[in-house]
Symmetry: D3
Subunit: 68 residues, 6 copies
């Protein structure tokens, strides 16, 4: 499947921190950049996310703010 989301960064899961209903996942996309994602626990469980997994950080262009 191809996605319309313009930004799809491949990396390795480096941290999975589970809260009550939300999980914070960190994906090391290329040193030194690490992408943080906040997803539901249900999603984290369904994907079985754990440190060392290959994963993709997917971000729509309309969600990106530009700073200069």
């Amino acid at each position: 499947m191809k996605l319309s989301a313009r930004n799809q960064l491949q990396g390795i899961v480096s941290e999975v921190r589970k809260g009550a209903v939300t999980t914070i996942v960190k994906i090391d996309v290329k040193h030194p950049a690490v992408i943080s994602a906040s997803i539901t626990n249900e999603a984290a469980d369904e994907l079985g996310l754990k440190v060392g997994d290959q994963a993709l950080a997917i971000i729509k262009a309309s969600e990106v703010i530009v700073g200069k």
Copy 2:
């Protein structure tokens, strides 16, 4: 100023494509990753974005989808 947004990727503006009211900006954050941002023309003008500028791609953790 510090921002709560977890993801702040430094890069170089590599493309600025202006539409009627929306501008697509590409920021080369580290080869081969390029981040696309869709922002208002007004914002692009106010920041004076042009190819070669240093810029920051800023993304909230709650906007990131994880694929695996």
Copy 3:
């Protein structure tokens, strides 16, 4: 690939309206519901979206507002 996004609705593309840099895509997910998506022209072109295509509307749970 599995996605963390909780909402993935299968449907048929029923309209593709291209603007200057943004395209509005409508996906008929099940009568009478039609999902509207606003994506970049680049994404629409890359996916080759046209009326009659099978497509998926993907929405993160954190983007949904509840009304009652």
Copy 4:
């Protein structure tokens, strides 16, 4: 009140799972589609969301990713 959000799906609340500060709400919009929403506990309490309630899942077109 009319809303600019293009996607407004009517359904029945089928699950309300409360976390520390975030609540996951599921709205059965039409079998077999169920929309998950992640909202603040404060919002869930203020709306008094409970299983069986009529509710609306509201989604802006710019938040929808298209997969094909």
Copy 5:
């Protein structure tokens, strides 16, 4: 109808700038704050937005970035 979105700011439409498929709407919520919204033309037409209208700017808490 009550909405889960935590931020609902009442104001007066002070500008409506229509692009090819996207409209920028400005809502003067209280001097000197003006909220900019980028919505589809379809939405702007359906709501018949024009300068001087009473309108509400609705924003989910998960979309707000905090700077300090």
Copy 6:
């Protein structure tokens, strides 16, 4: 640093409610408007957000829904 985000409202932090991995921050931007933001605990800690702080609520135009 200048940001492309069109909406940047200055205010005073009036509440910081920490959950398991998510923190709800309220910023009093001008009586009677209070902006709620849902951010990661990590972000709240890094900014050291506490009641009485000067803070900025930053919102992209594409995240705003218009009601009328």
